[in-house]
């Protein structure tokens, strides 16, 4: 019987007190009892999103909420700018294209964040851009973007800022209202410590005007329906009751610890993770590393996918390899949601053992020592 360590950038470990909530007897969703839970959950989500705007809940993965973030705000041939720095920027692009939008793509170099000056130059040139689709933490390269900077240049324009904060929310600082973010998309299985199955979307007043004029087809993800139900502490379709009951617990924990304190903690955890990796002679992949996940370049003679397989097979530790063409090049360690310093210490202990087994040379224990120094020092 192996232990289970889930240190992947989604789904990440779900603590036992939330798993217990998931296993409670099911209640019906059209009851005062459930409406009360939904109401509290929505208030709690607003705090975590740092917004006074409504945050609606979809029973879907984060990708469903991303699709809602496109299908509700535009019309065919509308022009949007997609910041594409990896797998999830690509996803914005693909969704926008499927809905027949004109996509201007700012393609970034691997592991890089966009320069605000570049974004500004495109917006100055293409004056009819109606929306910017970007990412808080591009999970595929573990890169955090300057959302505040993008908000500033979009504030007085007739365009909305739509941010995929699926993996970043809760770890990477995001002041949605203060920074002028119109739509924030997220999901349950990362910073919120739940299993996958819930998608979230916040919507600003400015975005509501775009919603009014949008002519794209959608039903399940229609925000008019979702907002109408939201006003009555309800959902348009049967919600994932058990996950929402679990979410109530997760929100309590985050509130107790404090969002700001958690941002600081994850910033420190990510720094300790990077320093520990560097101590092993490994390179950090991202030029703008996120507080949610760290991407590490695998030693040249060790395929990242093999390393990840070995960790899972031998000790039950799940971290993630890169996706698509980065599959063998990088591996990714999450520090999000429930994952903390204890998990990361175990992670580096087993990572050292695996690297040693695979013939990589370094001083045994050095990454643990470095992690300790940076985190507790």
């Amino acid at each position: 019987m192996k232990r289970i360590y889930l240190i992947t950038p989604g789904p990440s470990a779900v603590p036992s007190f939330i798993r217990e909530a998931l296993s409670k007897e099911l209640i019906h969703h059209r009851t005062e009892e459930f409406r009360q839970i939904l109401k509290e959950v929505c208030v709690g989500l607003k705090d975590i999103f740092c917004t006074k705007n409504p945050v609606v809940i979809f029973s879907s993965s984060g990708t469903g909420a991303m699709e809602a973030g496109v299908a509700n705000f535009f019309s065919p041939q509308d022009k949007v700018l997609v910041i594409n720095g990896g797998k999830f920027g690509e996803r914005w692009r693909d969704i926008a294209k499927i809905y027949n939008l004109q996509v201007i793509e700012l393609k970034l170099e691997e592991g890089c964040a966009p320069l605000i000056s570049e974004v500004k130059a495109i917006l100055d040139k293409e004056k009819d851009i109606k929306g910017v689709l970007t990412t808080l933490c591009e999970t595929s390269t573990a890169t955090v973007y300057d959302i505040e900077g993008m908000g500033k240049i979009l504030k007085d324009k007739n365009a909305i800022l739509i941010v995929d904060a699926i993996s970043g929310l809760g770890q990477d600082k995001l002041l949605s209202d203060e920074w002028g973010v119109d739509v924030v998309v997220s999901a349950s299985q990362k910073g919120l410590m739940l299993p996958p199955g819930l998608g979230f979307l916040s919507i600003s007043e400015k975005a509501k005007d775009f919603l009014k004029n949008s002519k794209l087809p959608r039903y399940y993800f229609d925000l008019n329906k979702a907002l109408k139900s939201y006003e009555k502490d309800d959902t348009p379709f049967t919600p994932s009751v058990s996950l929402i009951v679990g979410l109530e617990k997760a929100i309590k924990v985050i509130k107790e610890e404090g969002l700001e304190k958690r941002w600081e903690k994850f910033a420190k955890l990510s720094m300790a993770t990077r320093e520990a990796a560097k101590t092993l002679g490994l390179e950090i992949f991202s030029k703008s590393p996120s507080s949610s996940v760290t991407a590490i370049v695998s030693p040249s003679n060790i395929k990242a996918s093999e390393l990840v397989k070995k960790l899972r097979k031998d000790w039950g530790l799940s971290i993630a390899a890169g996706q698509d063409e980065l599959k063998d090049k990088i591996f990714r360690i999450a520090h999000m949601g429930w994952v903390n310093q204890d998990d990361l210490i175990v992670c580096f202990s087993l990572l050292e053992k695996a690297l040693r087994d695979l013939g990589y040379s370094f001083k045994l224990g050095s990454s643990l020592q470095r992690f300790q120094e940076v985190f507790y020092g």
Copy 2:
């Protein structure tokens, strides 16, 4: 502390052994372990759907899978026939209209099933109909439709039969392949004994040809992506891991008991429910009553919505009132999934007490006695 009885037509009660599975430590979805579970679940779903066709899983409510059932098979201005006998027929109509299809609507009288001769007449007249969107059990009126009959008249036509079996699956007999059903849509929170959060869709070879030619936009619910992943025991987007782990248990239970035996059991449970209600002098609403749910007309001086509220408030028993304009007229008792004769006996015991409290006259215990006679006699 009140007991919880969930005898609504979705979500219905989730047994403890499934709730325990939901609370297990989360595993990652891109692992051999999860792929094995997914594979077994998909085989099990095929058996329950009575099909050899692929059954794909969406992380969504049933409505999401319904939307997939429209958005993947047609193009703008395609003509479809919608059988509309209530709330869920209306939903087919609304989705089809949003995707700019030409909708021919066969509007049924309340509580009635469609006459196959009527359906045939429409198909004979409107030769360019590309699809028939219908329901196995129209939950809002507790009415089962003759899907076999519809399959027969569609078999040699260039049109596909798409059936919403969300509440019916597992209780109302459905031989998808034998009857020529091309697309069956269902969900987790009814006959499959799980919390809400999973949608299912089966797709025939004929429907795959329609998929090839469809020009409607969709991303999260795109079947090309879903089928490609299906071949590799995978999902295109992060699946609801915990619910799928629970589904494995549910499928085992259904398999052990046997699908045919369960159809017989629910037919008997529904008959006993109807007879027990009639003994109280109450009228059955549907002219073609389903094995999944029974709709009962509330006594003229008792609002169904008040009766339902009282049962929940006083004894923790959830049954459902009618929806929309039927809210005060009917109440609905489910016999689906985990709900069995013991639950229904308790249900009638409390229903009698509530009706008595609200001033309705009948012989106390008579519905229990009648239920016993019909079910065990």
